[in-house]
Amino acid sequence: MDRDVIISFEDFGFQYDAQAEPTLYDINLQIRKGEKVLIAGPSGCGKSTLAHCINGLVPGSYPGKISGKLTVAGKDAMELGLFGLSKIIGTVLQDSDGQFIGLTVAEDIAFALENDCVPTEEMRRQVEKVAELVDVKGVLHHAPHEISGGQKQRVGLGGVMVGQVDVLLFDEPLANLDPATGKQAIVLIDEIQKRTGCAVIIIEHRVEDVLYKTVDRMIVMDEGRIQYDGDPDALLCSELLQEKGIREPLYVTALKYAGVELKKEMRPSYLPELTLSEEQKEKVRAWFEAQPPVVEKEKQEVLLKAEDIDFTYDGGHHALRGISATIHKGEMLSIVGTNGAGKSTFSKVICGFEKPQKGVLTLHGEDLSGFSIKERADSIGYVMQNPNQMISKVQIFDEVALGLRNRGVSEEEIRPRVEETLKICGLYPFRNWPVSALSYGQKKRVTIASILVLDPEIILLDEPTAGQDLKHYTEIMDFLSELNDRGVTVVLITHDMHLMLEYTPRAIVFHGGRVIADKTAAEVLNDPAIVKEAHLKETSLYHLSALCGIADPQEFTRRFIARDREVRK
């Protein structure tokens, strides 16, 4: 065997004990030392299971039947076991909050050393060194809630690097980060790889964001099998990503729409090196001219209005300063900004969960300050990010009926209303199922249904598509657009730039407890000052339009989005 190979799967297969079908089939895959590999695939394709096999959680924590062979650093993975593998492979989990074990940054980085019985003095030295490498030296004695999401991820990375591993495995590293922090994370991973020579495996369905820095190889998985293993440029020239329900980089899709035939030599996998001939640029310009201009919906009467709202938490943390905003009837809009910018607090104030110290909130011109949480909920529905935090009944029907029963509606009236809502949400066939049998996306729908059944005028959703792949993302968002077409006003709190561009004409940008912008999504993303301040990220379409000499990148983006939505429908 090639001596450079550090991980090698041979005819490998795996079936969880609790499942009827195998999750992985015929995996043949080799990872070489120092290589950087991106593994992409839709939800349920087996990519997380593959990661669990590499780091030993399978079969250590998730037992099942293994066939074939997995060799890591020349040894059989089963013999190495979870602990043996942990010396070779460092895993950074998706949930940077949940994986924070120590009470402070320093303790968390030291955790692996503690388990290796490294003496305290030596441990302190090594922690310092690693903290410098991942740039968290200034916050060594901070608690997890005192540092930002990006810093938490750096700590997570430090915590595995301290063990001097040969492979760094990232399980969806971008899932919980705002766009700008995600970009920094990709830069950091790239730097660390270059500096330490570790092999890096990134598991992620947000391909474009990972390709902000080059990767050596891309692997596409679907239905438990490897569908592609090779050069990223060649992959992007093909239709495979689209077919497998993975979003390809937007500029690639745009070039394909414009009829540009992609070639490997054009470097489509790395935007800064993408080369287009004059003829190809002309094709893109011609396509742009040919697309119909996008007409915006006319604004209707004012539904909800916030005037000069101030809110300070008990601890003295000033969360909202002078917030003024207007939401029109029938609108679909985004509230964006970093963690801690005040967007969640603002939604809590709207729902009456928190009482502002100053300012007025009106609905249809009526002051809401005297309204209880329950009374507000009759007009304003709130859907939490994590469906598991909302669902309290065993049966889907009962869960959706809960709000009506609490309001003393008669059973004769409840049945048709719940059934109607279940139909709208595409859950009617499952009405007698237990909630636990549903997928995450379906649970999300149950929570939306349980709010929708109360017939609110506005629905507020916190990160409705977090952690969803393209297929589920499109399902949820198209469903919300349909609701919007039926006249429900939809407000989305989100990190997802694409969601904001694609589905919400208007965006309100929060930063440091203030509203720093309130304009169209395309305008927001075209304003470098706002993008920088609010930790957003400009889309690659702007670079493409600049490359092709198109003067109005905003309009180019709008036309592309309109076209893309049509195609995907």
Partner: protein
């Protein structure tokens, strides 16, 4: 938010002691208080424990909830003692000085009252010390100190993690509860007790489910970094004993010895002012 059992970070000499030292002192102190009913000693220990509480810069309002809970416990404890053995004091001290006759066997005697005073003093000199330990030892040092006195590190770490997650879970409980209230679950005093219990279940189920997710993530994260691979581990937050630590332990050993000595010299655990 209610502070149950949380570390309160303030600069004080007590905070600077190592966790292990504080744990050893706590055990010695509690043993000394448990074995003896010698009133002057208990009185002195009560005064000392309140003094230590001041030195640690803790305020009653930091822990008002727990203090309230303890007061309820003390009252309940005393009421029950009186209900089940109203003549316990008489049988201990050998005399009977009736102060007030109630119904049937229930007679208030000076001996019984004195016995109750001793029970209260025993609580009063241990409770502040326990709170002192919990509030001045951060959870990871707490784990390190449990491990140092011989408790398995896995159990130590589990205890420390549980303590650490209390504020997170309180926060999550609040979020879930608000979202449920928005769906019309009545949690206020307006609802009957039965309905409030039902309402609590609609919050507890999601809370338990999301806590299970949290446990799965953290236990995976811990195993992936080698937690549990060997019988021993070291601690980043582990501190070496300082002179102050050793001095404190010596003082507590002396206290323990004093308590035993008094019992031995006195010939009984009880201080008897009646004979």
């Amino acid at each position: 938010m209610i502070n149950l059992f949380n570390y309160i970070d303030r600069p004080s000499p007590i905070h600077r002691l190592t966790g292990a030292c504080k744990l050893i002192c706590l055990i010695l102190w509690t043993l000394a208080a448990m074995t003896s009913f010698y009133t002057p000693l208990l009185l002195a220990m009560t005064v000392a424990s309140l003094l230590l509480f001041r030195i640690a810069k803790l305020k009653v309002k930091d822990i008002s909830f727990v203090v309230g809970l303890m007061l309820v416990y003390i009252v309940l404890n005393n009421v029950l003692i009186f209900l089940f053995s109203p003549d316990h004091g008489t049988s201990i001290y050998g005399t009977e000085t009736v102060l007030l006759k109630l119904i049937g066997p229930y007679v208030i005697t000076a001996e019984q009252l004195f016995y109750h005073l001793n029970v209260i003093l025993k609580n009063a000199c241990t409770v502040p010390i326990v709170l002192l330990f919990v509030c001045t030892t951060n959870p990871s040092e707490f784990a390190a100190s449990l491990n140092r006195v011989g408790v398995s590190y896995k159990i130590s770490y589990a205890v420390a993690l549980a303590l650490r997650y209390i504020p997170d879970i309180q926060r999550e409980y609040r979020d879930i509860s608000l979202a449920q209230q928005a769906r019309g679950t009545e949690m206020s005093k307006k609802a009957s007790l039965v309905n409030r219990l039902k309402a609590a279940s609609t919050i507890l189920i999601p809370l338990i489910l999301s806590s299970m997710d949290r446990i799965e993530t953290i236990s995976n994260a811990m195993e992936l970094r080698g937690f549990g691979k060997s019988g021993k581990r070291t601690w980043y937050s582990g501190k070496k004993f300082s002179k102050m630590d050793i001095l404190c332990i010596i003082l507590c050993v002396v206290l323990m010895a004093l308590s035993l000595l008094i019992t031995f010299l006195n010939g009984s655990r009880y201080y008897n002012p009646f004979m």
